[in-house]
């Protein structure tokens, strides 16, 4: 009998004593006894039980694993709030150039002028896009950018001798907002949404008091809607002396059209892996720079990339790009070194490729695609079972409620999502925002063609038709994927989080 190749074997299960890939470079110095260099009591008794495999098997193992992943380069990925836009191939090529990839982070600034200039130029560009003059690239991800924002807020108030205790977040907020508030040492106070999906201004007025340090807001909101009352929100929040924080998760809707700084926000974080197209890598890396107003600038993380004009630096006539560590009011470091430079290279390349008109066009097309897809779903009759949570023009994404579908067809949003997998489409975000029952959040992005959107609408309509005849097909989906629905409860009850040896 011929054995089947088992795609679920781990690299450890493919291991066999004596196999190897690594060949050690020559030991070219006089060898000294190990005990002399590292006493036995400092050493481990057994080496780590890493796999023993030759290169061909490693390559084959991971290539086969890769084929068990769905990816953006293969299919439509309308995952709401995640901005799964195309990742230009050029970016990988330039990020891999040795002048960028083999740069040591502690290289003296005089030897890192290209890298520091690139970072400075990216700071300038992001500042212009945000409408805020000062940028720190340091935060490693959106979540760390949020924490930076809360810590900056804290430093700002403390510097004025104020000790505020609360941060407001809307009930539509990403989970990172409240989690960040707690990490930043504040108490979360939730603000409700009104009937149109906007922040409820009366509730905001009632909760905004002198103990409030900040309002964290995503605009467009996680419902994909622009806060029409943004000017009043700004007056209320600043009226009590709090800062206004912009969660940049949805910046892709408004680049070059309007700017957080012009709306009165004091602090903005960017997700370079969303609007500025760093590949998501199956869950990282990303980067979460922050842009701030003048009054917040003194508190930005250390070190800050600065441009020193002629004569200030090394005496040459060119400007000198430097790392400024001398920032006495800084909140300090959020991480090691200067941030995720490899991400900066890609995102700045994106900005250079598109330029001002291209960025605006990207946002316009993102909003056009989202509204078109919503219209197309209506045209197919999908809206009866999957109505938009709020009947308005959307921005770059929209949220549907699967509650009528659940009630009338017996399939949940989760079932619809799983059935989409059988059609080669990555499902939209499900069950978020929390205020929409059976939520389905769709973000097509600007890099998808009209044909792709048309097909998606047809597929959703087809799944609903199918469910009318036989809901069990969706209820038991997916049927064509490498594995089917997995027992997550068992995994959480008795966690197996590493290979048994």
């Amino acid at each position: 009998m011929i054995r089947e190749a088992d795609d679920t074997l781990t690299i450890y299960e493919r291991s066999k004593p004596g196999r190897r890939a690594f060949v050690r470079p020559e030991l070219d110095v006089p060898e000294r006894p190990l005990d002399e260099l590292l006493a036995p009591e400092l050493r481990r008794e057994e080496p780590p039980r890493l796999p023993e495999v030759a290169e061909p098997e490693i390559v084959r193992h991971y290539n086969r694993l890769s084929k068990r992943n769905f990816d953006l380069d293969t299919g439509f990925y309308p995952l709401g709030s995640c901005t799964m836009k195309h990742n230009p191939k050029l970016h990988e090529r330039i990020a891999a150039l040795p002048g960028h990839a083999r740069m040591h982070p502690l290289q003296d600034p005089s030897q890192a002028q290209g890298a520091l200039e690139l970072m400075w130029r990216l700071q300038e560009a992001l500042g212009e896009i945000a409408g805020l003059p000062h940028v720190s690239l340091q935060p490693s991800a959106g979540s760390q950018g949020e924490l930076a924002g809360v810590l900056l807020t804290r430093a700002y108030h403390e510097d004025r001798g104020e000790h505020r205790t609360k941060v407001l977040t809307p009930d539509t907020a990403h989970g990172t907002n409240p989690a960040t508030v707690t990490m930043g040492g504040y108490e979360v106070v939730k603000v409700v949404s009104d009937a149109h999906g906007n922040v409820d201004l009366d509730d905001l007025r009632a909760k905004a008091d002198e103990d409030v340090a900040c309002l964290m807001l995503t605009n467009p909101s996680t419902l994909g809607l622009f806060e029409t009352g943004i000017e009043e929100i700004e007056r209320i929040v600043h009226g009590v002396g709090a800062t206004l924080y912009y969660d940049g998760a949805n910046l892709n809707a408004i680049m070059g059209i309007c700017r957080p700084g012009d709306m009165g926000f004091d602090i903005v974080h960017f997700n370079l892996h969303k609007s500025f197209t760093q590949p998501h890598g199956g869950g990282g890396p990303g980067a979460g720079p922050v842009a701030v107003s003048e009054r917040i600038e003194p508190f930005l993380p250390r070190p800050q990339v600065v441009r020193r004009e002629t004569g200030e630096g090394n005496g040459s006539r060119d400007p000198f790009y430097d790392l400024d560590h001398n920032r006495p009011k800084s909140i300090g470091r959020l991480r090691g070194f200067q941030g995720n430079y490899g991400v900066f290279v890609r995102s700045y390349a994106y900005i250079r490729s598109l330029g001002a008109p291209g960025l605006r066009e990207a946002s316009e097309t993102a909003v056009l695609n989202a509204n078109y897809l919503l219209a197309k779903l209506r045209e197919h009759g999908v809206a009866e079972r999957l109505p938009a949570a709020y009947d308005r023009l959307c921005m770059h994404e929209f949220v549907l409620s699967g509650e009528p579908m659940r009630r009338e067809l017996g399939i949940k949003t989760l079932d619809l999502a799983k059935r989409l997998l059988d059609h080669g489409v990555h499902p939209p975000t499900v069950y978020f925002p929390l205020i929409v029952e059976e939520a389905l959040m769709v973000e097509p992005t600007e890099t998808e063609t009209k044909e792709t959107l048309d097909r998606f609408a047809e597929v959703v309509a087809e799944i609903l038709r199918e469910a009318r005849d036989d809901p069990s097909v969706a209820q038991n989906a997916p049927h064509t994927t490498p594995v089917r629905r997995l027992d997550e409860a068992a995994a959480a009850r008795r966690p197996v989080v590493r290979q048994a040896m």
């Binding site: 069950y431 997550e488 409860a489 959480a492 009850r493």
Partner: protein
Amino acid sequence: MADPSYPDDLKYHSEHDWARIDGDSATFGITWYAQDALGEVVFFDPPQVGSQVSKDQAYTEVESVKAVSDVIAPLSGEVTEVNDALGDKPETINEDPYGEGWLVKVKLSDLTEVDSLMDSTEYQATLD
């Protein structure tokens, strides 16, 4: 999971907890409705024996795969015993919420509090 049931011999709290009163002690658990809303329970974090619980206040959490729920004390008192068997088999809370799926036993500090709890009929009326 069994069909909905709300035994007559229990007292109920509006946050979907039950208490089985036995003299000046009681056993607490969550109702069928609560476990059904939560879904498959994957973890129960028992309070310390000897800790105090206060009526209407959370004294522990139960977790499903994608949700965490506070468990509210229907009555006040001191925890005398916790259901350690749930550590290995938290799913018992789904399978037998009024029997093997009990959470804690408590020595009650104020027996008059019992009067504020609902009986089965009253509790079921709140679920409609």
